[in-house]
Symmetry: D2
């Protein structure tokens, strides 16, 4: 997803901004029920948070290069409507809650005004040795800047 495709943050939602990306459904995403297989939404959630962090000026790739890892410790999805091959869906992402060492990221998948799925992931902050760490001040400040 290029910047052209992932528009700048557009919607305030409580204190933090959300960000929307477009994803074209692949044939590989479908199953024999003729709809998107349920685990594939978690890949889209990943795309959503990747683009969120990029828009924040804090690409996840760089975070890992600097020794900060955000593995998923919890994931939840509710499937409201079926998604089909070649649909162009929008993934809307926003920061949910942020405790000291945990980050909740909320995601919604839309298709032209229809909510298809919603859910969240919870992430830990780990260093390169897999030990829990606190997020750097710069990162927390970047998130806070988004709040205004």
């Amino acid at each position: 997803m290029r910047n052209a495709k992932c528009a700048p943050p557009i919607a305030k939602s409580g204190s933090m901004i959300s960000k929307t990306c477009s994803i074209r459904v692949r044939y590989a995403d479908t199953d024999q029920m003729g709809v998107v297989y349920y685990s594939r939404y978690l890949e889209w959630f990943e795309v959503g948070r990747t683009e969120y962090l990029r828009a924040l000026g804090w690409p996840y790739r760089r975070m890992e290069e600097e020794g900060v890892f955000l593995p998923v410790v919890e994931a939840h999805v509710q499937y409201h409507r079926s998604t089909h091959y070649d649909d162009l869906v929008q993934v809307r992402t926003r920061i949910g809650e942020m405790s000291g060492v945990r980050l909740k990221i909320e995601c919604e998948v839309w298709r032209e005004g229809e909510l298809l799925a919603s859910g969240y992931t919870v992430h830990a902050f780990l260093n390169g040795d897999g030990k829990p760490i606190r997020p750097s001040k710069v990162f927390v400040e970047a998130l806070k800047q988004n709040e205004q």
Copy 2:
């Protein structure tokens, strides 16, 4: 998974039985963090419930052939420990709750006494036209037989 691999139901858990299957972690399951990518557990949950239904004498393939579909309407996973390439994990599956038109299936992923992940899926009963239906009496009875 052949019957030889997926042993008959072994553990009582409350009123309903659970069933355990073995899955060998594939290289394809891993990501660059060196652990299993988080959406892959949902595929294992699928394997778990497929083998559960087969052990029940009610293979899901036959259900679809007879016009009954069980799409996932909700999924939840908690990731407790990392899973690695070539690990041999056990997926333990049991029926959680069954209301009129919803079925909850609980899953745990183990590796030699260590709980790696736990969660559940909730399923609707649909007919071939995608309309909600009640599960057949034979199916409900098959589940109830398991309760004793």
Copy 3:
């Protein structure tokens, strides 16, 4: 991929045009070697040919709705260089050969002037019953219009 992202056909290659699409590498695409897992390129080939057919004015989704299916009967990939998480790759697609009932589609994956992978897929034309058919004249004409 929206039209904005997938520019109109840009390069003549022999007699037929090629088409280029951008794909952002997902974390889900990587494996523990820290590079994209080898089967994922086949999903990108799929994206490439989907966008090729759309640019041709002949979206594959519509083809299936009209009862024409193009299953893959052969696939080949050569992996020249590693692809990494968050890379923005270009998939260049063109029609290779077209016999009566077979269509060869060639694909290349590039990253800023570096060829990462190349290969092809061969497709059969089937109707809704899985029987081989000849492609419709309109489709063949659409391909031929591209040749000039």
Copy 4:
């Protein structure tokens, strides 16, 4: 796949042995054509060669731990017949050719006497820094022992 499931090498094929593993087709493997999506066969090829190397007494996991990596540099698949959800397929794997720094592995996917797909992968030998290396003598000897 446990040893119980993946029987010891059973078939001589030219000079080298082949090895057969069983894989149950997952719902996740299917697409909306009602058959297995074409990239999934490459995951099965991976399972096949993993079990081949394990039977050889040379598990790939250990190879990586000892600093030897076998990335795929070429892959080829021919799809002969459709594979369906819940099918129990057999993956038959054998060593194709072995030049100094390249290893070809051949794979076939069967379902009860029907050949579903066939193909191969070609692998390079790399060390932990991604530099080409020659395979260790012990490994080459293990392969040669299989030849008798």
